[in-house]
């Protein structure tokens, strides 16, 4: 099972994303954006790593979404191969129209606006640990295939533009009805509150991750590769482990899900 970690100019999480995938039993390599795009077809799945592709020029993900590798990824998605976009990878998938995958660009990931008691209390770049509630049924999506509905996972986020907005008033109903909302930001006890700091970036209905209708393309703003090992957890987390450096952290479930999704699809 071989996956490609797609790297654009400005991507900065490719090595740890590959390491996290390898820790879940996947093999793979970093695939630079300027390689012949058709070589992507040799892989069983794809991870679009986080960072600041093209320095977020114009808006996050917009320039990378026009690269030829994205046309190939669109074709690979159409035949059912899994793609997971993390942070900037999510922004690229949105700008490419692969998420939520309803014909064209259906949402935007706007600048973070943190609201509490009706007032903007922060805006822009934010970095923090967050808890995500898995909203989709088990096996609905390639990146949460092994998670049960309602399960909580912890991972950090670090971004300036993760505030999911849409001008389509009916879109949220559709995403909810079709179980395309995969992760929501919640409290450590699993309660969804639309105020900062639980809704950490102002995202519509606390959305942290969505998938396409088929479930084989997932985008999420938080970084599962940054909590794939127990040693990466914050000191306040009782699961933090400094002895066994290979011990799993909660984020590894995303990569294990991708592996299982590929196995089942075969």
């Amino acid at each position: 099972m071989k996956i490609a970690v797609v790297q654009f100019p400005g991507t900065n999480c490719e090595h740890e994303t590959l390491l996290a995938a390898q820790s879940a039993g996947l093999s793979g390599e970093i695939f630079r954006w300027n390689r012949p795009a058709e070589e992507l077809s040799d892989f069983d799945g794809y991870l679009i790593a986080g960072g600041f592709s093209y320095q977020d020029r114009l808006r996050a993900g917009a320039i990378a979404s026009k690269e030829p590798v994205m046309d190939t990824l669109r074709e690979e998605a159409e035949i059912g191969k899994p793609i997971i976009g993390i942070c900037n990878g999510f922004q690229i998938l949105v700008e490419a129209g692969l998420l939520p995958g309803l014909d064209g660009v259906n949402v935007a990931l706007a600048q973070n606006v943190m609201v509490s008691k009706g007032e903007i209390v922060r805006r822009g770049f934010y970095c923090a640990w967050t808890t995500l509630r898995h909203e989709a049924p088990s096996k609905r999506c390639c990146g949460s295939f092994l998670l049960e509905k309602g399960e909580l996972v912890q991972m950090p986020l670090a971004h300036a533009e993760g505030n999911l907005v849409t001008a389509d008033e009916k879109l949220m109903d559709r995403l909810n009805e079709e179980n395309q909302v995969v992760f929501r930001y919640c409290s450590e006890h699993g309660e969804v509150d639309d105020e900062f700091p639980v809704n950490i970036n102002g995202s519509l209905e606390n959305i942290a991750g969505i998938c396409n209708p088929e479930g084989n393309v997932l985008g999420m703003m938080p970084h599962p590769e940054r909590s794939s090992f127990a040693f990466q957890l914050p000191p306040t987390d009782s699961r933090k482990c400094t002895g066994d450096m290979s011990a799993a952290g909660p984020g590894r479930r995303v990569f294990e899900s991708m592996k299982r999704y590929i196995e089942v699809r075969r």
Partner: protein, 157 residues
């Protein structure tokens, strides 16, 4: 009345270069798009009782313009763009947190009590070789310059 500040980089604008390259190399505009430039546009609503708006514009520019790397031009109420390009103004139709913060800073920290509102946008200057440049500009705006779920655009005539 509204003070308009057009701000542009006097050093090379890497963002404009990237947008130009993407349009020409990736999106099929290598013949149509001859050149592309970018300006930031501040539109600052001030109290009508202000006696010397151009002096106020200079004082506002001390906060909004970094003259080590940027130049600006101020006008009151209207803007006259130069000939030769199609100006495409792009802004947010959702709440603009930076504009809100700027208004708060100008009024509450820097003492510009006469400032009533702040709007922020970007003007893309498209130098087009086309029989219908406005239509080509609209197409470029919709295909790349905006995400319609947060941005609006306007061809400024």
């Amino acid at each position: 009345m509204k003070i308009k500040l057009r701000v542009w980089l006097k050093i090379p604008d890497a963002e404009a270069a990237t947008v130009k390259n993407t349009l020409r190399r990736r999106m099929g505009y290598e013949i149509v798009l001859a050149e592309l430039g970018k300006e930031r546009l501040w539109s600052i609503e001030v109290d009508d009782s202000v006696q010397d708006p151009m002096d106020l514009a200079r004082r506002l520019a001390r906060d909004l313009v970094n003259e080590n790397k940027e130049s600006y031009r101020a006008s009151v109420d209207s803007i006259e763009f130069e000939e030769g390009y199609v100006p495409v103004k792009v802004g947010l139709h959702i709440e603009d947190g930076e504009a809100v913060s700027t208004l708060n800073r100008l009024r509450n920290r820097l003492g510009f009590d006469m400032v009533k509102g702040v709007e922020r946008s970007v003007v893309w200057k498209l130098y087009l070789k086309s029989t219908n440049p406005e239509k080509a500009a609209e197409e470029i705006a919709e295909r790349l310059l905006i995400n319609p779920h947060k941005d609006f655009y306007e061809i400024v005539t």
